[in-house]
Structure formats: structure tokens, C-alpha cells
């Protein structure tokens, strides 16, 4: 069995309300939680808005500093300010691929940026790597000189995926990355993600509220509600025998749609 890739211990986040000088109010966005992810595995995080899903994602990529706890990658603790290492190994894909790509850069410049900042490859090597990565996500090498607006929604999502995998990361966080796609493109992207997981041994953290995708895609599953972990375990177990009332409600709200069919 493969060893633990990412280990999260007692991670929590409080936001302080700065309006009050005395009597400071504290909002607990995320209560302490711990989990492990192996390579080749997918962890799904499910919950409503305001349940702390995105806070967790931000903590993992280092966009926010955690209040308590720490994150270990391959047994090595990630320092809060050390972005060099984090950028290499933990990458993130956002929901709206159209707005996360810089419209004034070509695809080559877009993909060149993380390479220049994080690696010491020379220009020809970078060029070759970009070419290979585009091929890997199902695009052509000619697409390098295109601008983001020349692509359709599904292709844009492929480009953000290329940007995520170009540094050979070990963990990819998908923050609702599949929600805004059309059904036929969505299944294409799911197939692509599964292939990449097979090839590169990636671990995915999937944040989604479509339980159908979660069921198909993930091995483990975590249900969050207002910053608390309600359930954590194997996806099939939770979806078949939900223990908590909130989970049951969440499953019911999606499953009834196809009850008779």
C-alpha cells in the first residue's frame, strides 16, 4: 500500500472581527480537523455554502494562514510562508476557468510563468514541457500561441488543468471545477482527470456539491457543516448508510430526483 502523501493535523481557522476593539469577536470558519490522503486517491469535501469547504482549500494551498495545526507533505511539515515548495506540490483549479486565465497572455506565456518562477529549466526545455503538457490534457501544440478567449469553456478548463499539472504536483485541489461545465464536457474532463490520476499518481481533493460526481470520482468523503466535520469515511459507506441527519438531508435532496427511474 502506498504511504501517506498529505497529512493534515488539527487544522483550524478563526476569523477575528476587527470592528470591535475590546471584546473581540471570533468566528470559527473551520474547527480542528485531521485527515490523510494517499497517492492515487481522491478525497471529496461536501457541504453547503459557509460550511468551510473553500476555507479548507485556501489553507491547504497557503492562501490563508491557519490558526492552529499543520500540514505535512510526504512526512515533511510545510512552513506557513514557504510558497516555493507549496506551489510545486499542491495546485488548485477554480470553478470559473474563464476568469482565472489572464486574457492578455497567450497560452504559452500563461504556462511559462509557473515554470520560470519555480524551476530552473532553460527556454527550450520549458517550451518542450509546455508542448508535452498540452498534449497530455488533449490539446494541440499549436494552441500555444492562442489567447484564452479563443477557446470554449471545456478547453479553458483543460488549460487550467495543464497549468496545474505542469509542475508535476502531487496534490490537486478542484474547487467546484466541474460545476459550471456542460454535461458532455464534464464527463470528458472527469475521464481526463481519472487518466491523469492513473498516470501520475495524483491525489485529488474534490470540492463539489454534485453527489453523483462525488460518488463516481472519490474514494473518501468528508461532510462539513458550519466548519465542523460531521462524517468522514469511505464514500460508498457514507452514501449508503449516512449517519448524520444533515448528510441524509443532503443525499435526499439529490437522490429523490431519480427515485423512480
Amino acid at each position: 500500500m502506498s504511504n501517506v502523501l498529505l497529512q493534515v493535523i488539527n487544522l483550524s481557522k478563526n476569523y477575528k472581527d476587527k470592528n470591535y476593539w475590546f471584546n473581540r469577536k471570533c468566528v470559527a470558519a473551520l474547527e480542528p480537523l485531521s485527515f490523510d490522503i494517499m497517492a492515487h486517491k481522491t478525497l471529496a469535501i461536501v457541504g453547503e455554502t459557509g460550511s468551510g469547504k473553500s476555507t479548507l482549500a485556501k489553507l491547504l494551498v497557503g492562501a490563508e494562514l491557519p490558526t492552529t495545526g499543520h500540514i505535512r507533505l510526504n512526512g515533511q511539515t510545510l512552513a506557513p510562508g514557504d510558497f516555493k515548495q507549496r506551489c510545486q506540490y499542491i495546485r488548485m483549479i477554480f470553478q470559473d476557468s474563464g476568469t482565472t486565465l489572464n486574457p492578455s497572455l497567450t497560452i504559452e506565456q500563461l504556462l511559462d510563468e509557473p515554470l520560470r518562477l519555480n524551476t530552473d529549466l532553460d527556454e527550450t526545455e520549458r517550451h518542450q514541457l509546455i508542448r508535452d503538457t498540452l498534449k497530455k490534457v488533449g490539446l494541440l501544440a499549436e494552441h500555444m500561441s492562442f489567447y484564452p478567449h479563443m477557446f470554449s469553456g471545456g478547453q479553458k478548463q483543460r488549460i487550467s488543468l495543464a497549468r496545474a499539472i505542469i509542475l508535476k504536483p502531487q496534490v490537486i485541489i478542484l474547487d467546484e471545477a466541474l460545476a459550471s461545465l456542460d454535461p458532455s464536457l464534464r464527463s470528458q474532463i472527469i475521464n481526463l482527470l481519472l487518466d491523469l490520476q492513473q498516470q501520475m499518481g495524483l491525489a485529488f481533493i474534490l470540492i463539489s456539491h454534485n453527489l453523483g460526481i462525488v460518488r463516481h470520482f472519490s474514494d473518501d468523503m468528508m461532510v462539513l457543516c458550519q466548519g465542523k466535520v460531521l462524517e468522514f469515511g469511505k464514500t460508498t459507506d457514507i452514501l449508503q448508510k449516512p449517519q448524520h441527519k444533515y448528510t441524509k438531508k443532503l443525499i435526499m435532496s439529490q437522490r429523490f430526483q431519480l427515485l423512480h427511474r
Binding site: 470554449s152 459550471s180 456542460d182 454535461p183 464527463s187 456539491h209 443532503l250 435532496s253
Partner: protein, 330 residues
């Protein structure tokens, strides 16, 4: 009697070079009290079709139809004014992203009072103000908002998405329409809120016998709520039939792919297996393929497919394909 009966509706975009056929000969019929789903991916022209029914397309778009009947009246023969009178009385529309559609600078109460139909108010002019307020509150009660005092005083940004959508539905109900066109009413909404809105629409359909045209890009989201479904692809008619027919025995390869591609619909498939997809992506309007527009992506395409297929009817299950999947089910 059919509520709405559209035969061979085409919508053309007039550009400087050459006109683009955005919607190509689409049929749509709705009976009274029916909930019909209109399903298609982005760029399939489903919103255009809805806008053509309501008549809000501007001069750039040229609408043409062999038959465009609303309860027996031929809308194509009427003057724009007559047409507007009929449509604004009987048809209402709600949009996606309700928060963006409401006026952010006025309170919900004022916006609702504006929507109240003047002809339904009886009494002298000094009573009308009070009646208007009451009517607005009644509308809120109809869509299941109980704390009406809070709601009428608040601005759109203070309410949640689902509440805003309820307010939109309340406004749509003000003229007591016979047909409600819901253009992706639950896009970008939480699943629990989606359920609320769909349940509200279903109860309106049953209690008030209001017909609903439910537009969605996701087949699996609407199947529970609809009696019949029309599927469109890239501006062309694909398939129409009852929900059972479409979902259990789709005749068109595109519908088949839509049903197979959703991981929820076919639960038999093992975890992490590959999903069935169509290769390629949706064609853009400037480069539409000739004939059947699914042609380049279709697994069953043959030489014949460069000509647009005629619509075949199998016991009310209409399909527009040269090689329907009908024989594969028996």
C-alpha cells in the same frame, strides 16, 4: 387544445457578412397544465427559443416559423402591439441569477407593488395604495414566504439566492400567467435550495394548473419534475417525448450520450470507471457543420448525415435522426 404550438421555428442572426442560423427548424408543442423540460447544452439556442416566445428579441434576430400558435391564435399574423398584449397577459418568465435580475436600489416591496396588476384592484383611488400593499404581501404568501414584513423591507442583496428566486416567481405570478417560462431557475444554487424552488414550481403547476417550460442544461436535474422533455443540440431539434421515453429509451445518439454521461443516472457503473462521452466539443456559431449538426461528433454518423434529417414520429416520441436507436431496444 394545445397551449402553444410551434412548427419549424427558425431564428437567424443578421450579421454584416452573412446571416447565421442560430435556431434551425425547431418544433415545440405544449398542452395546458403540462411541465415540459427544454434541455440542451450551452449554445443550443434554448434561451433564444424562450425569448422568441416572449417576443423580446431585437431587430438583429429574424424569427420565422411555419406555425406559431398561442391557444389557437396565430402570433405571426398579429401586429406587435396585439402580440404584446396577449403575451404579457398570459406568459411570464423567470431568469437564472435572480439576485442580478432584481433592482438593487429599491426594496423588494416596492418592486413587487410595481408588478401588481392594476386591473385586479377594485375600489376608489384612495384605497388602491393599501390594496397594492396587500396584493404584494399575498403574492409573497403564495410563493411560501411567511415573514413578509422582513422581506418587503429588505433589498435584494440582503436575501439569499433561493429567496430572491421566490420573489422573482412572485412577480411572475402577479398577472396570473398560464405559462411560466423558467430559464435555468436553479443554476448556481445549492442542491437543497434547488429542491425548494422545484417543489414550489411543481405545486404551482398542480394547484393553479399553470404550464411550465423548464429550461435546463442538465438532463438529470429536471427529469423528476417534468412530464415531457424536448432536447436540442446546437440550435437543432433532437428529440421530444415523455420523460420516461426520453430517459429510459432515448432514440437519438445525442440523448443516449447525455443520459449515459451523467454519473448519477447510471448507477450500475463501477466507481472510477470511464464515463461514456462524445468526442470533440460543441460547435461555435460561426462554424456550424452542415446537415445534422451532431454529425462530426456522432458515433453512428454515416454519409447520409450531411443532409438534415426529417423528424420521425413513433407514437408521440419524435426524433430527428437518420439512424434512430429504436431497433436496439426491442
Amino acid at each position: 387544445m394545445n397551449l402553444i404550438d410551434i412548427r419549424n421555428l427558425s431564428i437567424e442572426l443578421q450579421t454584416s457578412t452573412q446571416p447565421i442560423l442560430a435556431v434551425d427548424r425547431v418544433n415545440l408543442t405544449m398542452k395546458e397544465g403540462e411541465v415540459r423540460g427544454l434541455v440542451g447544452e450551452s449554445g443550443s439556442g434554448k434561451s433564444l427559443l424562450a425569448q422568441a416566445i416572449v417576443g423580446v428579441l431585437d431587430e438583429k434576430w429574424k424569427v420565422d416559423a411555419d406555425r406559431f400558435h398561442w391557444r389557437g391564435n396565430d402570433l405571426m399574423r398579429l401586429t406587435p402591439e396585439e402580440r404584446k398584449a396577449i403575451i404579457s397577459k398570459d406568459v411570464a418568465m423567470i431568469f437564472q441569477e435572480p439576485m442580478a435580475c432584481l433592482d438593487p436600489t429599491t426594496t423588494i416591496g416596492e418592486q413587487l407593488e410595481e408588478a401588481v396588476d392594476v386591473e385586479q384592484l377594485t375600489g376608489f383611488f384612495w384605497q388602491k395604495r393599501q390594496q397594492r400593499k396587500l396584493a404584494a404581501i399575498n403574492l409573497l404568501h403564495k410563493v411560501g414566504i411567511k415573514q413578509h414584513e422582513m422581506c418587503v423591507k429588505s433589498f435584494p442583496h440582503q436575501l439569499t439566492d433561493a429567496l430572491c428566486q421566490r420573489v422573482m416567481i412572485a412577480m411572475a405570478l402577479a398577472r396570473r400567467p398560464m405559462l411560466l417560462i423558467a430559464d435555468e431557475p436553479t443554476a448556481a444554487m445549492e442542491s437543497t435550495n434547488q429542491g425548494q424552488i422545484f417543489r414550489l414550481l411543481a405545486s404551482l403547476n398542480q394547484l393553479k394548473n399553470m404550464s411550465i417550460l423548464l429550461i435546463s442544461h442538465d438532463l438529470e436535474n429536471v427529469t423528476h419534475w417534468t412530464n415531457a422533455i424536448t432536447v436540442m443540440y446546437s440550435g437543432q431539434f433532437v428529440e421530444a417525448g415523455t420523460t420516461e421515453q426520453i430517459f429510459n429509451q432515448p432514440y437519438h445518439p445525442y440523448t443516449r450520450a447525455l443520459v449515459d454521461s451523467s454519473p448519477k443516472a447510471n448507477r450500475m457503473i463501477p466507481n472510477k470507471s470511464r464515463l461514456m462521452t462524445l468526442p470533440g466539443s460543441i460547435p461555435i456559431l460561426q462554424h456550424l457543420p452542415i446537415g445534422c449538426r451532431l454529425g462530426p461528433r456522432c458515433p453512428r454518423a454515416q454519409q447520409k448525415c450531411v443532409h438534415a434529417p426529417k423528424i420521425k414520429n413513433f407514437h408521440g416520441h419524435q426524433v430527428s435522426c437518420h439512424f434512430p436507436l429504436k431497433d436496439s431496444y426491442s
